[in-house]
Each structure stands twice: as structure tokens, then as C-alpha cells.
Symmetry: C2
Subunit: 311 residues, 2 copies
Amino acid sequence: MDKLTFQNTYHLIKPYIHRTPVLTSQSLNAICETEIFFKCENFQKTGAFKMRGAVNAILSLTDVQRSKGVVTHSSGNFAQALSLAAKNLNVKAYIVMPSNAPKVKKEAVKNYGGIIIECDPNINARENEALRIQKEKKATFIHPSNHDAVIYGQGTAAIELLEDYGDLDYIFTPVGGGGLLAGTILAANYFSNGCKVIAGEPEEADDAYRSLISGNIEINKTSNTLADGLRTHLGDRNFPIIKEYVEEIIRVDEKEIIKAMQLIWERMKIIIEPSSAVAVAAVLKDKKRIKNKKIGIIISGGNIDVSNLPF
Amino acid sequence: MDKLTFQNTYHLIKPYIHRTPVLTSQSLNAICETEIFFKCENFQKTGAFKMRGAVNAILSLTDVQRSKGVVTHSSGNFAQALSLAAKNLNVKAYIVMPSNAPKVKKEAVKNYGGIIIECDPNINARENEALRIQKEKKATFIHPSNHDAVIYGQGTAAIELLEDYGDLDYIFTPVGGGGLLAGTILAANYFSNGCKVIAGEPEEADDAYRSLISGNIEINKTSNTLADGLRTHLGDRNFPIIKEYVEEIIRVDEKEIIKAMQLIWERMKIIIEPSSAVAVAAVLKDKKRIKNKKIGIIISGGNIDVSNLPF
């Protein structure tokens, strides 16, 4: 992965994404005794950074591949992102979703133009069904996080943040499947002057934390966390990057996640989802290191059922 | 009230307020078949536009007046705004609040540096207590909405909006005490090319709507609305402006307010309070008139207890 490809990625996806605003908050700065710059991907199309990687994955296909469509399995933000990215690029998107996925998520995928294929709610059924679509439709499988073009795409949020604020000391992201974290690390390596990347991870789904210790990709035995975007594990494309360059992975518990989410809602008047609050909670947990520094946080998304809140 | 004073007001208060962002939403535009520009005063200091008028009211005092402090009665956004504005200008702020005001509101006023004086929870006690402070401390009374400097100050949100988007056809605001509406009308008259101003008002507190019909300031017999910032009535400083220039006052019911609020939360990922949702609900109710126009909406604030939502 090289700097030039990364720069090209950004220029190619630009017309299909929002350049999201970077917000600041005097009260958050006061609480943390530091300067924080919030890169608001909750204002991105489909309400999450996933749009960046989805667009780039489709743009990286050949014309023949595009004519056959793309397929993924996801019930979360990537399903919506791939659906809209595909629609905007005149490509078919087959989305494999478990039959018990919430109706509201199915509706969102449909509204963005995705073609839903339901499967039994387990990982084998999901993968088999995606494989069937690949064979039957000759569609290209796009993994939500373990895919080079996706990783580059997700890293463009940090490119924009560093264009606006080039002297950040740290960027914090959440870590789930590892696409955003790996992309952010690459962006910091290529486009900053020594900015380090730290990830927040739920204690209840701390596979990435344990993977760093063991040196192998670990999986979650439980994933009993509100941060529903972070229940997945790392992959062979993003783990080597994370393993080599991440400064630290900070684990946060569910109470810390809820507290961080409520703090941002109340002080900044923006809606962030629990997965984003994980990165904020990591910042709050690490006040000593960040004191009087310049911190970026990738606010990954804002998709949450506002009629069912944890506070 | 003249254009030059208005321009001076804006330049004087600038260092003490945020120039709030103007957001747009493709999905809201699609729903309304129009172009909408949201002036986000929920991102203003203290979470509401009231900061503008509060700063201007204090700046318009003489040095002797400033040395004696200011007093108001409010349990809402103006109490917080006057407290912070006074603190930032090294002036004492006495805030008369009913003894049964929510603890969280008292805490906010205290945190912003206001001096709370509790009174019995009725309008007479409130006014008597404010009068007592005026006499005892020689403090200057600042009315939250019926005060020239406050009206000018509140109008600066529309000045900024029109600086960014000079060709708006309509600006929508909520109407409660009338300060924001009157200020916005003056801004549109002086700084736009024929932009008209429309207000939204809760059916449950439709004093302004009835005042327009009768030609006199009417008061609310009930004020059973979620939009707690709009339960007050107009005054002799702002009513003449509203009466002469407002294009229309559109009443919306509680269901429409809740629906509009949820729509903005879900689609735009920003937190707006019920009073702001009243202006959005008015836009949604008036789709025919606004079709293919350019619309501004003053999102007046984002102060709401997120642990106690109506959806």
C-alpha cells in the first residue's frame, strides 16, 4: 500500500462522499484539558464512514465486474453504505442479511437500493449464501473491513482531518473489523508528521486487544456490547498494519461507553452511535497522556434507534 | 430600529458568540422538494440562540450599569445565556428562578456563573423578586425577549444565514416571546432581497397566532406543549414588528412537533429541542408553498433532557 494510491483513492471517491465537518467543543476541551477535533462521519452519507470504503471498493472494480454487481454480508452500516454506493455508481448490490435482522435495517438497505437476500442467522449460513450469490450472479464479494480498497477508503476521513489540522499528536478511532483503524494508521503514516493512532475497543468484544498480545487474529467469544458495529474481528489484510503501527488499544466498559455517548449528545448536540462513543470513552480514560495535546477523534457514525436509548 | 445599529450590533457581539454552521440534508430536501438551509444555533454557546441577545443586552449598558449587574427571570435558555454572557463580560447576573425549577437547569445556571435567587413558582412572585433585586442591587432588568438590544442580538443569526445564502425565499423561526422572530424579520428586511419570514407556533400555546388576528397582544390560557421555550407571550417592543411584517404564523400540533424532531435527529444526526422542531414542523406542513424554493430555518437550540424523550 503506497502513498500515491492513497492520494488517488481520495481524489476518485471525492465526488461520491461528503467532506464532513470537523467540530470542536470548549466544554469537552475543558473536561479533557486538551484540544480535541471531532471528524464527524456521523454526517457522512448513510450516517457513517463506511460510505468511503464502499465507494472505493466499487470504483476499484473493472467494467466487467461492475456489470455483474457486488455482494456482501452485513446487517449494519456497511450494508447501507454498499447499497447506496452501488446505486450511485449504477451497480447492483446484493446484501446478505440474517432473517432476524431488525426491520428498520432491512428498510434502510431497501431504500438505498440494495437487493436483500435473507439467510439463517448464523455465520455459516451467511457466508454460504454470499458464496452462492458470487457463483450464481458472478458478483464480486466486498468484505466490510478486510479488503484493501475498503481500508484505503476508510482512511480518507483521516486524510481530510489531517488536511484541516496537520499538527495532531494523536488520532483516536474505534476498532471493530479493523478497516477504519488500519486506514487511519496508513493516513497518519503518509500524511502527518508523526501523529500516532490509538484505538478504543469495548471490553465485551476485545478481540483486537487480545490479538495484539498474542500476535494472532483472535475472535470474540462474547460480544455483549452496545457498540454493535464493533462485534466483528480483524482480518489478514488489516491486522499486519494494526499490529505494526497502532500505538495502543484501550478497552472501555459499557458504562464508560454510555457515559461518553451521553456527554457528546448533551454537550455537542450531535448524535453519535455507541461504536463512536467507544473512541470518545478511550480519550476520556486516557486524560493524562493527552493533556495539552492536539487530538483527533473519528466519530464513525450516528446510526442509532433514538426511541431505544441506554440513558 | 435601523440598519446601521443592526450592523454594529453584529460586529460588537461577534467576539462573544460562535458563528454557527449552516447544514443541509439531501434527504430533507428530497422529502420537502426544496432546498433547506439549517442555521444551527443548537451549536451556539449555551446551546441556543439566546446567547446573542444576552451578549448584546449587556454590551449596550453603560459602565455604571455594568458595575451593578443584570437581573432576569427565566428558567430556560435565557437564564443560561445571560449567566454566561455576563460572566464573559465581567458583570454579575442575578437569575430569578422558581423554586421548583429542575435541578439540572439550576446547575447549568450556576455552572455558567449566574447567581440564583429562588422565588415561589408563580408569575407575580417572579416579577416581584426581580423588582426587589433591581432596587436592592441597582441591577438592570433584561427581559428575555421584549427588549430592543435582545431583539437585535437574536436577529444576528439571520444576518449570518443571509451572508452565507443571500437568495433565500423564506426564513422559518419558532415564535415564543417574539425576540427571535422580530429580530429575524428585521434582518430579512435590512439584509435580504425580499426574503419573507414565517413562524411556527404550537397549537397548545398559540398566543402569537391569535394576537395577529385580534391586533392585540394575547396571552396563553394553557401552555401544554413540549416546546417549553414557546410558552411565553409577545411584548410591546416586538409585537409591532411581527404584526407588520410576518408573512404567516403556522400552528402545529404536538404530534407534528415530535415527528419533526425525530426526523431531524434521525436524518441529520443533530440534537434539536422541541421548540426548534416547531419551525421544522411548520415547514413540513407548508410543503406546497415552499416547493422548489430556498428556505432557511433557524434551529433555535438543542437543550433537552436526552434521558426523557417523547419518542
